[in-house]
């Protein structure tokens, strides 16, 4: 792509805090007309900062200290704010991450649309608004236009943001994690809309996300960021087929994909945050092929075999191909007595003036040592069912039993033994630990309450549990606020383990974690299950995770079981239409670009 055809040109951009600490450094990017660039990174990679920098914007407390950004021939770094404001929304526009908080709650949709085209002739407004709404697949009626944001559904809000981004007919659109929090089907719809936008308007798109699979399905080129720098970039096909940076390789090995059920390993170590960059290559501390030279100086971007494929690694020639291990999950044999039996469960809750049925006539059982996945979209009732099992939500009808003993509806009324054998792990790692208790205290509390251990014994158990979840002993005296999301979730798992349970109920425990962290946690759980013979009820919306972890799966739709069966049978040969819908919508790394080694790794 020659310089003249480039829509977006980013060269040497560095954004730093006012204290001088860099958030992103030396970034070069190029996007052509009608091209979709996927910007991939996990927490702390700086991808959101880069997305804002493309519009010449930096959050309060940070500035674009170096480099140039040129969109459609016009500079976005350097000119005064007034000029830049004129270019935003017209030349290049931005779709923010959280639709609910990014829409003005006190202003109607139509007015917010008009705000973005104030510089155009008033007579054009109706036409522009209509076109934008149609492209975003939203109703164009006057009634819809006069609504306030809270009167729109989550998916509609996201589409409204997209409509607002394109109403000014920009040449380049930057989308920042547009599908976070949306369910898979809506997400799939959004992705197809973006590709059709690209086709119809010939705009350039920068798609910022942590979801590698989503990017794989629509991007023409991909750039991977780690610790504020681009570590690899190139055409999507090349990158996915044969990545050369160890981080990219590790990332691809961690991405769950239901069409490619493999054992997800994750990456060792912890992500690097702003201000914590080591000298030289930032990935070196975690890299399996790092040596002294890596830490000496920052590796430059080098061209790899394929054209325009750049890698920031001095040992890129030695980087192995991603190895996708066939899954090594524990297969449960035989017909032992089930650990958990649920029969005819019906759960309801009151919503304003009506009664909503969250689950209807749900029956299933979990065998000892088995991992049963409960899959569904938001509103499918999976979380309510889990909470009934945990004793947090009284069922309206039906029975739950642990082994052969029936469980009381409320956790408080259950026997200590029952409460010990069934452990629940929550979704949000930032809320499941009391911020005023040290890690050790939180874990020991469980041991004291459920196993009636003395304080000293409970403390000792807590330390042991931390070891099992692969956390260093010094974490014990920390407060949760000092730990990362992945570390906190491990602590929650340790807290569950210390009770010596038979069944772990995991409620979307990895949904809010980075892909590599998620893979590490899944790997850990796999290990623990093997060691302790734990059964698991794993609630999730991600079919890829199901493919890699579960033995059996139950698919829920609006509170009713659509389909149950073993993995990989259900995924390969779904019988229910809803299951087929979910499978079709779930993003995959493009089939055919990756081969799976069918040999399974010995257990242990």
């Amino acid at each position: 792509m020659s310089a003249g055809e480039r829509l977006l040109s980013v060269s040497g951009v560095t954004v730093s805090l006012t204290s001088g600490v860099p958030i992103i450094e030396g970034v070069d990017l190029a996007v052509g007309k009608g091209e979709i660039l996927g910007l991939v990174g996990e927490s702390g990679s700086g991808k959101s900062t880069l997305a804002l920098a493309i519009l010449g914007f930096s959050r309060p407390g940070a500035t674009i200290s170096k480099g140039e950004v040129v969109v459609g021939g016009q500079a976005m770094v350097g000119p005064p704010e007034r000029e830049l404001r004129g270019r935003r929304g017209r030349l290049v526009s931005y779709v923010p991450q959280d639709p609910q908080s990014s829409l003005n709650p006190g202003r109607r949709i139509v007015d917010q649309l008009h705000d973005r085209i104030r510089d155009r002739d008033k007579r054009e407004w109706p036409r522009l608004v209509q076109a934008a709404l149609e492209r975003a697949q939203l109703p164009t009626s006057a009634e819809f236009l006069s609504r306030f944001p809270h009167q729109l559904s989550g998916g509609q809000q996201q589409r409204a943001l997209i409509a607002m981004a394109i109403v000014g007919e920009p040449s380049l659109v930057v989308l920042d994690e547009p599908t976070t929090g949306l369910d898979v089907v809506t997400q799939a719809g959004l992705l197809s809309e973006i590709t059709s936008l690209r086709a119809s308007l010939e705009i350039g798109v920068v798609y910022v996300t942590h979801d590698v699979a989503a990017v794989a399905s629509i991007a023409d080129s991909i750039a991977v960021m780690y610790a504020g720098r681009i570590v690899e970039q190139g055409r999507a096909g090349d990158m996915l087929r044969r990545p050369h940076h160890p981080y990219t390789v590790g990332l691809l090995e961690s991405v769950p994909d239901h069409a490619r059920p493999v054992h997800l390993k994750g990456l060792p170590g912890v992500a690097v945050g702003v201000g914590e960059w080591p000298s030289g290559c930032a990935y070196a501390p975690r890299c399996p092929q790092a040596d002294v030279d890596c830490l000496a100086a920052l590796p430059p971007l080098e061209e790899v075999s394929a054209p325009n494929h750049l890698v920031r690694c001095i040992h890129w020639r030695q980087t192995p191909e991603p190895v996708y291990l066939g899954d090594s999950r524990v297969q449960t044999a035989g017909v032992a007595e089930p650990v958990l039996t649920v029969s005819g469960l019906r759960a309801t809750y009151r919503s304003r003036r009506s009664v909503v049925v969250a689950a209807e006539d749900v029956s299933f059982s979990v065998a000892p040592g088995e991992c049963l996945a409960l899959v569904g979209e938001s509103g499918s009732g999976k979380t309510t069912i889990a909470r009934c099992i945990a004793g947090l939500h009284p069922p309206a009808a039906g029975a739950i039993s642990l082994g052969d003993r029936p469980l009381a509806a409320e956790a408080r009324s259950r026997s200590r033994e029952a409460r010990r054998r069934l452990q629940f792990i929550f979704q949000n790692p930032y809320e499941s630990l009391n911020p005023r208790h040290r890690v050790e205290a939180s874990i020991a509390a469980a041991a004291m309450v459920l196993r009636q251990l003395s304080r000293e014994k409970a403390r000792a158990e807590a330390v042991r549990a931390l070891e099992e979840v692969r956390l260093p002993a010094r974490v014990a005296t920390r407060f949760p606020g000092e730990l990362s999301g992945g570390e906190r979730q491990r602590v929650a798992i340790a807290r569950a383990l210390v009770a010596e349970p038979d069944l772990l109920v995991c409620d979307e425990i990895t949904s809010s974690l980075d892909v590599s962290v998620q893979a590490a946690i899944l790997d850990l759980l796999d290990n623990l299950r093997k060691r302790h013979g734990l059964a698991m009820l794993f609630i999730t919306h991600d079919l890829g995770v199901v493919a890699s972890t579960a033995n059996r799966v139950i698919v829920l739709d609006k509170g009713v079981i659509c389909e149950t069966g073993g993995i990989p049978d259900v995924l390969v040969n779904p019988s229910h239409s809803y299951t087929k819908l979910l499978l079709a919508a779930a993003p995959q790394l493009a089939p055919g670009t990756i081969t799976v080694q069918s040999t399974s790794v010995p257990t242990g």
Partner: protein
């Protein structure tokens, strides 16, 4: 999830279609109910506790026949409930009873209603001017400071208001008197008005009381408006609007201020409510002939009917302000308006 809606009775459907009206109706009903409870408390506190009110008015060494006569006049010989209903019944119809003090004082039994009229006007004037100044000043200053947050002028004002919000009105009032009346001599120290005149005839007397009341309320209002604006200016939708190239002035007014108004209205209304109590002290400091001074004097004279009436009046205004502010807020926050 299948939604099994319970069939909505007619009232609920009405509520669904006219949320604002039904909300207003509910609030007013609630206000009336609260007023009724207030009246009971007032009655108990003033008529029940002091025991024999007639004796208290007439003093100790008094002819028992006079006591009986006064008792009959004040209906003290009826049961408690009877007294209460008698009072309430008349109050609601505008007959506020007769000032007990005037029973002793002047010849004619002056009705409380006549007694209240002039002070009511004066207090309304005082409070009205204060509120009329409070609203624009706090909005203006709050927004100005928010847009200059972090700069020296903001830190200066923030720190000084932090102290100012706490000063009692009698302290500020006294200081102002000393400064402007005693030392500079430009304004009168005491707000004397001749009988038959109202405060408007000599506007100079209004200046210091208004200043005192403003000092007590403006500081807090400015801080709240500023805090609300700053929070809103930091919100995601303001950032999204800026990123979309929406002009800064539009962002400030339509995106920021628009959504910061609700909490601002709330605090201004709260301070307006506070004025109901604040004028009592301020009027006493300046000798301003308003309801505040009236009630304090009535208390000292044990003029129960006057106390009761003025208390009910002030309570009504207090509650009414609450309702009005709720309605304004419901208008400002669309989320509250629409039935969901």
């Amino acid at each position: 999830m299948s939604v099994q809606a319970v069939s909505l009775p007619r009232a609920e459907r009405f509520i669904g279609h006219h949320p604002v009206l039904s909300f207003a109706a509910r609030r007013i009903l609630w206000g009336v109910l609260t007023l009724w409870v207030v009246s009971i408390v007032v009655f108990i506190a003033t008529s029940v506790l002091p025991g024999n009110a007639a004796k208290a008015i007439l003093g100790k060494n008094v002819n028992p026949r006079e006591v009986l006569a006064l008792e009959r006049e004040l209906h003290l010989n009826q049961s408690l409930w009877g007294q209460y209903w008698y009072w309430m019944g008349h109050f609601v119809h505008g007959d506020l009873g007769r000032s007990a003090a005037s029973i002793l004082g002047s010849n004619s039994h002056e009705s409380v209603g006549a007694l209240i009229r002039a002070p009511l006007g004066n207090s309304a004037l005082l409070a009205g001017i204060t509120i009329a100044l409070l609203i624009p000043l706090s909005l203006l200053l709050g927004v100005l400071l928010a847009t200059r947050a972090g700069k020296w002028i903001d830190s200066l004002v923030s720190t000084s208001t932090l102290g100012a919000i706490s000063l009692p009105e009698f302290v500020t009032g006294s200081v102002l008197i000393w400064l402007f009346a005693s030392t500079l001599g430009v304004l009168p120290a005491v707000s004397l008005i001749g009988p038959g005149q109202n405060a408007l005839s000599s506007p100079k007397i209004l200046v210091l009381p208004v200043l005192t009341l403003l000092a007590a309320t403006l500081a807090q209002c400015v801080r709240m408006v500023r805090a609300g604006m700053i929070e809103v200016l930091r919100s995601d939708y303001v950032q999204a609007a800026r990123l979309a190239g929406v002009g800064e002035r539009r962002v400030l007014f339509r995106y920021a201020l628009r959504n910061a108004l609700a909490p601002s209205v709330q605090v201004i209304a709260l301070n307006a409510q506070w004025l109901v109590g604040g004028i009592v002290v301020t009027e006493t400091v300046f000798g301003y002939p308003g309801l505040g001074q009236l009630i304090v004097n009535a208390i000292n004279l044990r003029d129960i009917p006057t106390v009761q009436s003025v208390a009910m009046l002030l309570a009504t205004v207090y509650i009414a302000l609450n309702i009005v502010s709720d309605l304004i807020i419901i208008y400002l926050v669309p989320k509250l308006r629409t039935a969901q």
